[in-house]
């Protein structure tokens, strides 16, 4: 399987998150680790540092959860 270096780094960060909180980090919108991995990794590191699991879905304003918007 061919992965980009960024993807591999992201998966490692994801594993660290899961080991600490028992669940993987969750992101909203289009998830694209091979492109946006750097941003995801920094968010995961911050979540681990602050001891608060990362789930962007939970932070989304209610009107964006209703299915009335398209990502």
């Amino acid at each position: 399987m061919m992965y980009t270096e960024l993807e591999l780094e992201f998966y490692k960060a994801e594993t660290r998150h899961e080991e600490k909180f028992g669940e993987p980090p969750y992101f909203t919108g289009i998830i694209n680790p091979s492109a946006d991995g750097e941003e995801y990794i920094s968010l995961i590191e911050e979540a681990i540092r602050k001891n608060k699991p990362l789930n962007q879905e939970k932070e989304v304003p209610p009107y964006l959860r209703t299915g009335k918007v398209i990502y």
Binding site: Y3, Y11, I31, E57, V60
Partner: protein, 424 residues
């Protein structure tokens, strides 16, 4: 005292060529709020930026001024929103697709650095929310404007009053291609079995999954968390196998019961094999993408590097999010990108909410996202992804091209008012 004049009676008025003015007047007469209250075409005063949805995204530093549009560019787009977006269209878009954008009314584009989205109910044709100053601006804008055109063309050309009315014309084609690719599987046995028999078992060490007999597909899906679909698939394989043993290991086996149990196990095994085959097919698509020129891009200004994820999203839509579901259990990572849990089906998102409450809702997101990704590839000057998709989904590509051609050639009542396809 203010003197009232009728502009239309003024000499030379009919010769004024101003698409922006015409558009403003048309919209004004309909009312921005869509209530029919005449507001004379004045755009409502409001902020053209919104704070990020992702509160923790990197702050964007001061951006350099947007370069002016190259005077030699063919069919320049003037969106009427932030000039930065005009620059992206005119620098990275194809002239043909710029002409298409110009032919139809424009939607408002709002700067939004929390992840792009399209809101079809805001404004007459919807509103695009997209990033400015982030690495993937081009791809986010092209994708979200793809949604906008799906909506605009649907309303103006196909006279569809519901939102996103163009992509509904290529559902048959992508279902056909999806089946051929092994992405769309006939899983009716799975749903029928659950509905007929119900199920109750500890789905994880912390949680039970209980389902009564007679449950509808919606009832079944709405309680599924990420990964539950695959856990139930594995459980059903065991249940149907045990059932065969159970009916056979009696003093006088009932041939009808044995036959029925064997049939169920056979069907479930075939479905399980189809799921595994699909995983292999997705791995092969990843290999195909990663051995293409797409693999070498990273962080380029034209944001071609983001198209790997966009191809992944088409796979996500075709499989109704079930590869992510499998990843959640297997811990293997094979997806290039996608919309994650609960977007393309009626199951729960990672936060425990349900986005869709019927099959039509999940199909809606599948078709609109496939449309927007195809549009993103078509408008981009780099056609690597468009060629990959043409190979993977020939019927969808053909129908998509046909729909775009129809939109390009259509004679609209207001077409000339928006036609800016002249060279500057």
């Amino acid at each position: 005292m203010r003197k009232c004049v009728s502009l239309e009676d003024e000499p030379g008025f009919q010769q004024i060529y101003s698409p922006v003015l015409t558009q403003a007047i048309d919209r004004g007469l309909k009312g921005h709020s869509g209530t029919g209250v005449v507001d004379w075409g004045y755009a409502l005063v409001g902020p053209d930026t919104k704070p990020g949805r992702k509160a923790k995204t990197k702050p964007v530093g001061k951006l350099p001024p947007t370069p002016p549009v190259d005077p030699n560019v063919v069919n320049p787009v003037v969106t009427g929103s932030n000039v930065y977006f005009d620059y992206l269209f005119n620098t990275y878009g194809t002239p043909e697709m710029r002409a298409l954008i110009n032919k139809y009314p424009k939607v408002k584009i709002v700067v939004y650095n929390g992840g792009g989205y399209f809101s079809p109910s805001e404004g007459e044709y919807g509103t695009v929310y997209t990033s400015k100053g982030l690495g993937g601006d081009v791809s986010t804008l092209f994708h979200e404007y793809g949604h906008a055109l799906d909506n605009i063309i649907g309303k103006d050309l196909h006279k569809d009053h519901a939102s996103m009315g163009t992509s509904r014309f290529f559902i048959d084609e992508f279902l056909k291609d999806g089946k051929k690719m092994g992405m769309i599987i006939d899983d009716s046995f799975y749903w029928d079995y659950l509905s007929k028999n119900g199920i109750s078992f500890p789905i994880t060490t912390k949680r039970m999954f209980n389902l009564n007999k007679g449950a509808s597909r919606r009832d079944i899906e709405k309680n599924m968390n990420p990964g539950d679909h695959w856990r139930i698939v594995e459980k059903l394989l065991k249940i149907t196998k045990e059932k065969v043993r159970e009916v056979e290991n009696v003093k006088n086996p009932n041939p009808v019961k044995v036959k029925r149990a064997e049939d169920d196990y056979k069907k479930m095994s075939a479905l399980y094999d189809a799921y595994l085959k699909r995983i292999e097919a997705v791995k092969n698509i990843r290999k195909l993408v990663m051995s293409s020129p797409l693999a070498k891009y990273q962080g380029d200004k034209a944001a071609v590097y983001r198209q790997r994820g966009a191809i992944g999203d088409i796979i996500d839509a075709l499989t109704s999010g079930e590869i992510y579901d499998w990843e959640a259990v297997s811990k293997e990572r094979i997806m290039l990108g996608g919309h994650g849990f609960g977007y393309y089906n009626m199951r729960k998102t990672s936060s425990g909410y349900n986005t869709n409450f019927n099959v039509h809702g999940s199909m809606f997101f599948r078709r609109v996202e496939i449309w927007a990704q195809f549009f993103q590839f078509l408008i981009h000057q780099d056609n690597t992804s468009a060629n990959i998709m043409k190979k993977l989904m020939p019927n969808t590509d053909k129908k998509f091209q046909q729909l775009i051609k129809e939109a390009q050639n259509a004679k609209l009542q207001v077409a000339e008012a928006f036609n800016l396809t002249k060279k500057l």
